[in-house]
């Protein structure tokens, strides 16, 4: 937890510094009182200052009131797979069309989240795909891609 706090502090400090540097590089055409870079530079300074405070907090000796955070570790692996599935879903829409892509995405996502029955994966996939096509495609008129593979 301690290390995570230090990393968060350093990330905040780095982002703030980056904003300041970028904002300072902006030219001021002198059209108004402070120019386009001034306010972003102040924001960058505020963020960097917060980063310094966080760094001090993270490195300071622990207070008595140790926060009792026994949070379980984040499952970054599962999250990365979920994100990859979403990207694949978004990319595949224009190729294989909404209906098929949704069946595949729903099945894959459920499998990732621990549903193990193949019948359930397939049935839910088809059900969600159909329901969305009817409700959003037909009733609400959302333009759901048909897919180039199917001449869309």
């Amino acid at each position: 937890m301690r290390r995570a706090e230090t990393v968060a502090a350093l990330a905040t400090l780095a982002f703030g510094t980056f904003v300041v540097v970028q904002a300072r590089a902006l030219e001021d055409p002198g059209l108004d009182a402070i120019g386009p870079g001034a306010f972003p530079a102040v924001l960058g300074l505020v963020i960097a200052a917060c980063g310094v405070v966080l760094l001090v907090q993270a490195l300071a000796p622990r207070r008595r009131e140790a926060e009792g955070d026994a949070e379980p570790p984040t499952r970054f692996g599962v999250l990365a797979v979920a994100l990859a599935l979403l990207v694949a879903y978004a990319r595949s829409l224009e190729w294989i069309g909404f209906s098929l892509a949704t069946v595949l995405f729903v099945a894959a996502c459920l499998a990732l989240l621990g549903v193990r029955s193949l019948a359930r994966l397939v049935v839910t996939g088809i059900a969600v795909s159909l329901a969305v096509t009817v409700v959003f495609g037909r009733l609400l008129g959302v333009d759901l891609p048909a897919g180039r593979l199917f001449g869309g």
């Binding site: 995570a4 706090e5 968060a8 905040t12 982002f15 703030g16 904003v19 970028q22 904002a23 902006l26 030219e27 001021d28 055409p29 059209l31 108004d32 009182a33 402070i34 120019g35 386009p36 870079g37 306010f39 972003p40 924001l43 960058g44 505020v46 963020i47 917060c50 980063g51 405070v53 966080l54 907090q57 009131e65 984040t74 499952r75 599962v78 999250l79 979920a82 994100l83 979403l86 990207v87 879903y89 978004a90 909404f98 949704t102 995405f105 729903v106 996502c109 459920l110 989240l113 621990g114 549903v115 839910t124 969600v128 969305v132 959003f136 609400l140 008129g141 959302v142 333009d143 759901l144």
Partner: protein
Amino acid sequence: MDLFGAVVDGILRSLTPAGLLAVFVGVAWGIVAGALPGITASIGMALVLPFTFGADPDVALMLLAGVYVGAEYGGSIPAILIRAPGEPSNAPASLDGYAMHVRGETGRALGFSLVPGTIASVIGAVAMVTLLVPLSRLALAFGPPEFFALAIFGLSAVVGLSRRNLAKGIASAAFGLTLAMVGVDDLSGEDRFTFGIEGLVEGIQTVPVVIGMLAVSEVFAEIDRAHEPQASISTKVRTALPTLVEYVRCLPSTLLGTAIGIVVGVMPGAGATVASFLAYTESRRISKDGARYGEGVPDAVAAPEAANNAVVPTSMVPLLAFGIPGSTSAAIMMGALIMHGVRPGPQLLTGRPEIIYALFGGLLTASIAMYLLGRLFIRPWIYIVNVPKAYMITSILVLVVVGILGLELGVFEVYMVLVAGVVGFLMQRYGYNVVAAVLGLVLGPLVEQNLRRALVMSRGSADIFVERPIALALLLLAAASIAYPLIVDRVKRRRSP
């Protein structure tokens, strides 16, 4: 148009087929979203926001208002049945509501959430319109320094609530403001923070980022927790509702909760959760059963549930009168308005009053819809809490993607939603304040433009913020709302060594 005629027009607008459909669909989805764990009112609103794209602006507002109203009741269902509030603002109801459920009085507990909530919602809508007229007139007297100061106050009020870590809260708000700076600067024409990426030239679009940061990030958090066992509810519960006499007996605490909700709702930053906790503790003083709070007392459910519903309409007041949202839900409303080309602010009441009165009509109709839907379908709403998480998460992700398709945005925006989702998740995971960041993004252009205009007025001197009394007062309030929690914490620490 006189006030009375305008109000009637607004109500009639919400009773047209399109209005009724928007309100009922909104409330039904709101109850579902509220009842689902992790999906708060603002997430529910963010998820339907894309589907308002093709609708008229007033119908869009009615749909969103319906979601907000419905969610405040929906959240009390899991609070009462499994002691896990669907919304943070339903936490007080989980104390006595759950105790009543354990005694076998589930229907009574739900009734004491539904009916006081409905009453509060109606009174709150009336309060909203009543407050709007004088406040909009006040807002017309505001210049750039005042708007700048008010926006800063709104932001710091939200930051002040990030108890866990103030530095992270401030950094989050500044981060949101920085995101708003991306794109071509209106005043100078300079490209800012675009790094040669074409999609960024017109700035970061609010709607995809709001959906990503609020909704997608929460879905990621749910995925992270998806392997944990899920509490399931027996749907064999007694659904006998309270009697009219019992409701009347709860009227004092209902009205107290409503009053607290109205006052807290108008203040930026505070919101439904603060109101419902306040109502819980304050109603204890006036309740005859005050000593038995926690054992399943009707007043202890009625007061907080009235308070969180009263907040819904009044939290729109800062947005409608000043153009400055004081909560995420109001920020989403603002996103919807801007998407439809309507600029919220003091000109709204004089320029396009029909939108405000349609929202008022929508809120009233939504209150009735909440009562009807809540009353007619007690059991189906209970089943929703039992939906396995895997199915809920998957459906919501599909809904997000369909929403982006509905907005007819490009591939770039799809990635924007995902990136915002990841950033939002990481911020949440490491104790940053996502709400402050979203509000910063929405308020960013307003803050900067008014700051620069004010400085042009004063020829570059910052004294203008000190010389104008309203601006000074607002900035002092902003400072106080950040300093106050710090002081309170320090005092508490000293008292309990």
